[in-house]
């Protein structure tokens, strides 16, 4: 019975994901189908909506991976930005086309890594037309997986000494590692690989996934679809992990370490597993973040970024995946789009509204966050998932 119900739930979830992804493709391309002058501004490809959706997709993966560690395993780690940086740089270094390397690394007289996956596949499938698309797609995929792997590998070595520490010591040590990684990537001596403190650019970004015809006109937009696809797959994998025996072990560790150990859970092994998995997905999301901002630069991945992601996790509810995803989109939409009006001086009826000038948006925003942190400590979802809420509602309706 339980088995059947689970299966039904899984199919429903799969269906929901497919519907959502199709919806995104439709939303992105609707402006082509509608007559040219009746397209509302929101749906134009340059609209804030798509920037928000892309950033939301990237951040939701980062938030969920942080939630896996902080919410489900109870390890308070603040190294997220460091792992994202590792992912972003790995992706960037492995995907800048060989032809562009001299231009990107001009300060160091070319790159030490003269190879990119895209070119490698290009020599097999060709660089034009469908072959070019296939080689780019494969190249990006493999670079992203490697980005995750590098982050996970670093996490393993960092975890060896650090995971023995308790709560806030762990937080500060992981924070420290993120800072160290940032410094290493800005080091001049590593310039031929990391381009020093300069940014790495000209690698495939989200808009490279738009399908164009021979004249360069966009036929089918997939720029928003791509991050959604990757994030959906990764978050689904995290969900599967959490619902497995490993996930139950993680939750046991969160509830009580000593009791969990007494029940025969190998603490070191499971903590390390959770830490590395979280770092893997943080690395993938870092690679996507690099694609989103179209460059990779170490100074962007600050502690503030980690704090931002942590606050998203808290707003969504610590220990709720759907909560994290929801909160990410709310957070990104508020900070990038809906609260924008607070930043510009507005005059209504000849009276200039007080306080409205650059920066006010973030003040209002952080006050809202403080209110949530202080008075709605459970966040949007608490530790429940979206299906739980739906289920309860149908049950209530049935009772009526």
């Amino acid at each position: 019975m339980v088995q059947q119900k689970n299966k039904k739930g899984a199919y429903m979830a799969l269906l929901a994901c497919v519907v959502m992804l199709c919806g995104i493709i439709l939303l992105e391309n609707i402006c082509v189908m509608l007559p040219q002058d009746s397209v509302p501004n929101v749906l134009k490809p340059t609209s804030q909506l798509f920037a928000v959706l892309k950033k939301g997709a990237v951040y939701s993966l980062a938030a969920v991976s942080m939630n896996l560690l902080n919410g489900f395993t109870g390890l308070f780690s603040l190294g997220q930005a460091g792992f994202m940086l590792l992912g972003a740089y790995t992706y960037a270094i492995l995907s800048v086309p060989v032809a562009d390397r001299a231009a990107v690394y001009y300060l160091y007289g070319g790159s030490a890594v003269n190879f990119s996956f895209q070119d490698m596949f290009g020599s097999i499938f060709g660089t034009e037309g469908v072959g070019g698309a296939v080689s780019m797609g494969l190249g990006v995929m493999i670079a992203m997986i490697l980005a995750g792997c590098v982050a996970a590998m670093f996490a393993y070595f960092i975890g060896l000494p650090v995971l023995r520490l308790k709560s806030d010591y762990l937080a500060i040590a992981t924070l420290g590692f993120a800072e160290i990684i940032k410094a290493v990537f800005q080091w001049q001596a590593l310039g031929p690989v990391t381009n020093g403190a300069n940014m790495i650019k000209s690698f495939p970004t989200f808009s490279s996934f738009n399908i164009t015809d021979a004249s360069g006109k966009v036929v089918l937009r997939l720029a928003t679809f791509f991050p959604f696809l990757i994030s959906t797959i990764c978050i689904a994998m995290i969900c599967l992990l959490i619902n497995s025996t490993y996930g139950r072990a993680f939750k046991a560790i969160r509830e009580d370490e000593t009791a969990a150990e007494a029940m025969g859970i190998n603490l070191a092994k499971h903590k390390m597993l959770s830490f590395c998995t979280s770092a893997f997905f943080a690395g993938v999301s870092g690679a996507m973040f690099a694609m989103f901002v179209t460059n990779a630069q170490a100074k962007v991945y600050t502690t503030t970024m980690t704090y931002e992601i942590l606050l998203i996790v808290v707003i969504g509810g610590i220990g709720s995946i759907s909560g994290s995803v929801l909160a990410t989109f709310l957070y990104v939409a508020c900070s990038e789009w809906w609260l924008r009006f607070l930043d510009s001086e507005t005059v209504i009826g000849g009276v200039k509204l007080p306080f409205l000038r650059a920066g006010f948006r973030m003040v209002v925003f952080s006050i809202i966050i403080m209110i949530i942190v202080l008075f709605f400590r459970k966040g949007i979802m608490g530790d429940k998932e979206l299906p739980d809420l739906l289920k309860r509602r149908t049950r209530k309706e049935a009772a009526k």
């Binding site: 709560s167 040590a173 160290i180 080091w187 925003f365």
Partner: protein
Amino acid sequence: MEFAISVLISGISVGGQYALIAIGYTMVYGILRLINFAHGDVFMVAGLLGIYLTASMPLYLSMPLVLVFTVLLGFCIERAAYKPLRSAPRMSVMISAIGVSYLIQNTATYITGGQPMTYPVIPFLSDTVKIAGTSTKWVTILTPFLVLLLVVALTQLINHTKTGMAMRAVAKDFETAQLMGIRINTIISITFIIGSALAAVGSMLYFTNFQAITPTAGALPGLRAFVAAVVGGIGSIPGAVVGAFIIGICENVIKSTEFTVFSDAGTFALLILILVLKPTGLFGEKVTDKV
């Protein structure tokens, strides 16, 4: 030789300034078991207050006012953001601290417009002096002595007054102290007040040396001071001071070599080394976990 002396002197001076911030961290951690992430930002606000107040009034009025307002800010933060969470899990309080830090930084960006502000020149402190062949500011020479003076005063307060005794009791055991009739909230407020006052003094010394203040100017000194507190053994005031001097000197030594980018990385490497080898720090007490 002269170069080495100047590096050492500036290291000791910066270390002293970190020590003043680190005491705030270590006292709060000792009592609440909370990393007060907002403390670095309180330090930054003290710097900004210094700029705004000296612009409109003479120094002998503005500097005490900076002290008063910073103390008020620390007090308000504790009352508004930490007190409601007294019975909540430790993680919630830490998140609240991160939220406060975020709020202060954003408010500072809003008020200053995000531009770096220049700290006013304080006469005498900013004057240059020649010592052992290297010229430096008076503040550099005075800092270590001032720090030692303040720390001695503070340890006297903690070891020989009734309030100090109450503080030690609360740090030892929160609930028992409450049962013995100690007013926890007052004690915690006093802790925050002392911490903020020292941070304000620290900001006057620190920003006389590093004059540009941006809204994030407090974050890094704050983190370094926290690391100092951990290295010295969190909860211990002499430990925090010794740790701060170690961190300050290490940072300046690394900065004087070709590995300048690694000055912060070195600080954190030291932290991790200490945490792994001696998790309680140099002067920390050994704690045993109760199940």
